[in-house]
Symmetry: C2
Subunit: 241 residues, 2 copies
DNA sequence: CCGGATCAGTGACCGCCGTCACAGACTGGA
DNA sequence: TCCAGTCTGTGACGGCGGTCACTGATCCGG
C-alpha cells in the first residue's frame, strides 16, 4: 500500500492546503458547519495519496476512520475467494467512504480501491467521534449519506436477484456513457471492468456485448464501445423484472 | 390495512401501557435515555396492530415515521413486478424498521409485512426529528442500527452474487432451526416461504430439499423439515464462494 | 517496427435455475 | 367423513451463465 502521510497534525493556525479546505467544504457531511468548525476537523485529517489500483483498506480489517475523497475515484467492492468480484458502488470526489463502521464498532464491510490516482483525507475514528459529540448535526448528515448507500444496495440486490446480466449491462453502459466526458457515447471501460461491476466474468460480458452489436444497439471498434441506439438500451435497462 | 389506533397522544402524566413501556425500554435506539425521556417519546407513539400478512407500509410510499416492533415479527422485502419476492431481512420484537427514510427524506425503500400478529408503535417522522434534535445521542444509535442493516445487505449481495441456492438454503435452514423454539431441528417454514427468503421459486427449493434428503442431510416427514446432519449443512453453508 | 503483454472474441460444454404442467399428499373445516 | 384449498414432488425443457481452452486483435515500450 503506497501512500504518503504529509503530516499528522496541522496546527490550526497554519493555513491548510487548498485541496484540503475544498474537500471539507464541499462534502455534504460538514455542510452545516461554520468555516471555523470545518477548519477544526480538517486540521485533524491525514492526507493520503493513492495510485490507481491501490487499496485504501480491505474488508474485514478494523476501521481507521472516515475517508474523505479529495480527488480521484474509488470503488467499493466485495471479492469472493475464487477471485470473482462485485462492485457495490463507485465514489468520485467529493465523497466519503467508511462511514458505517465509525458508529457500530465493526470491521470494514467491504474493500475500497482507487480506480484513478486519488487523494484522500483520513479523519481518525476517535477524532471523528469526539467531533460528533460536539457537533450533533454531523451524525445526522452521516445518516443521510448512509441512507443513500443503503438504498443503492437494495437496488443492487433487486437487480441481481431479478434481472439478467443483459439488463444490468445495459444500465451500466448508459451510466458510463453519461459519466464519461462530453456525454459522448464512448465508453472507456474494459470488458473485465464491466464484468467486475456486474459480478460476473469477462466472457459473459463479451457475449452480451456481441449480442447488442448484432442487434445494432452498440458498435465496437478498436476496443471502444459506442452506443448507437440509446433508446433501445434504456428500454432494455428499464425492463421491469 | 387493518389496524387499530388506540390513541393519538397519551398525556404524559397518564400511565402508558405495559407493552409500550417495555418496547421503548428494550429498543437499543433509546437505551441511553433516562426513563423520563423514554416516557416522553413513548407518549408520542401511536399503537398499531397488524394481523399476520398485513402490510405495515409499501416500498415507494412516503415514510410515516419510525416503527418500533413491540411484539410479533415482520419481514422487509422487495417484490418484482412478476411476483417474485426477495426477503431482505426478518425483524422480530424488540426491533425497529424504517429508520432510513427518516433522515434522507426519501420514500420507503422496501415493503414491510407482518409475518405474525404484530403490535407496532409508530413515532411520526416530525416528532422523531424534533426529539432527535433534543437528544443528539439518538441519531448515533440509529446509525448503529442502520450500519448493522447495511452489513446484512452486503452479505446478502455477496451470497446472491457468488453463492448458489443450495448454499443459501443450507444457511437459512440452520438459522431457522436455531430460531425455532427449543433449538430443535424442526423447521416450520413452507417451501414457498423459503423460496421468498431466497429470492427464488418454490420448485427450486423443493428440488434442493429433495437433494439434501437424498444425501441424508435432512429428513422430511409430513411437510416438516428435520435437520439430521447439521454439520453437513453448516459445511455447505459456509463453503466459501 | 517488433515482440511481449494485455484485451477481446468464440466455440464447446454443463449445471443450475426458472417455467409449465400435473398429480399426489396433507389439512382444516363443514 | 368428505371436500376444498393448500402444499409438495417431479418430469420436461430451454436459456443463461460460468468454466476451459484457444486464437486473434490491439497496444505500447524499446
Amino acid at each position: 500500500m503506497r501512500y504518503i502521510e504529509t503530516r499528522l497534525r496541522t496546527p490550526s493556525d497554519l493555513p491548510l492546503s487548498q485541496v484540503r479546505r475544498e474537500t471539507f467544504a464541499t462534502t455534504s457531511l460538514f455542510a452545516t458547519l461554520t468555516p471555523e468548525e470545518r477548519q477544526q476537523i480538517a486540521a485533524l485529517a491525514v492526507e493520503k495519496q493513492f495510485k490507481a489500483g491501490d487499496v485504501l483498506f480491505h474488508e474485514g480489517t478494523p476501521c481507521d476512520g472516515l475517508y474523505l475523497i479529495g480527488s480521484g475515484t474509488v470503488k467499493i467492492s466485495k471479492t469472493s475467494s475464487s477471485g470473482r468480484e462485485i462492485m457495490l458502488t463507485v465514489e468520485s470526489a467529493p465523497s466519503s467512504v467508511a462511514e458505517v463502521p465509525l458508529f457500530d464498532n465493526g470491521m470494514n464491510p467491504a474493500t475500497v480501491t482507487a480506480l484513478r490516482d486519488t487523494v484522500a483525507f483520513l479523519v481518525h475514528i476517535g477524532d471523528f467521534q469526539r467531533f460528533c459529540r460536539q457537533h450533533p448535526e454531523v451524525p445526522i448528515k452521516v445518516l443521510a449519506v448512509v441512507g443513500r448507500r443503503l438504498r443503492q444496495l437494495i437496488g443492487l440486490i433487486e437487480a441481481v436477484t431479478f434481472g439478467s446480466v443483459r439488463q444490468r449491462l445495459a444500465g451500466i453502459l448508459l451510466q458510463a456513457a453519461q459519466e464519461s466526458v462530453e456525454g459522448g457515447a464512448q465508453i472507456p471501460l474494459t470488458h473485465e471492468e464491466l464484468a467486475l461491476r456486474l459480478g460476473t466474468v469477462r466472457e459473459v460480458v463479451s457475449r452480451n456485448l456481441a449480442r447488442f452489436q448484432a442487434e445494432g444497439i452498440v458498435r465496437i471498434v478498436k476496443r471502444q464501445i459506442e452506443i448507437v441506439d440509446p433508446a433501445a438500451l434504456r428500454a432494455e435497462a428499464e425492463t421491469e423484472f
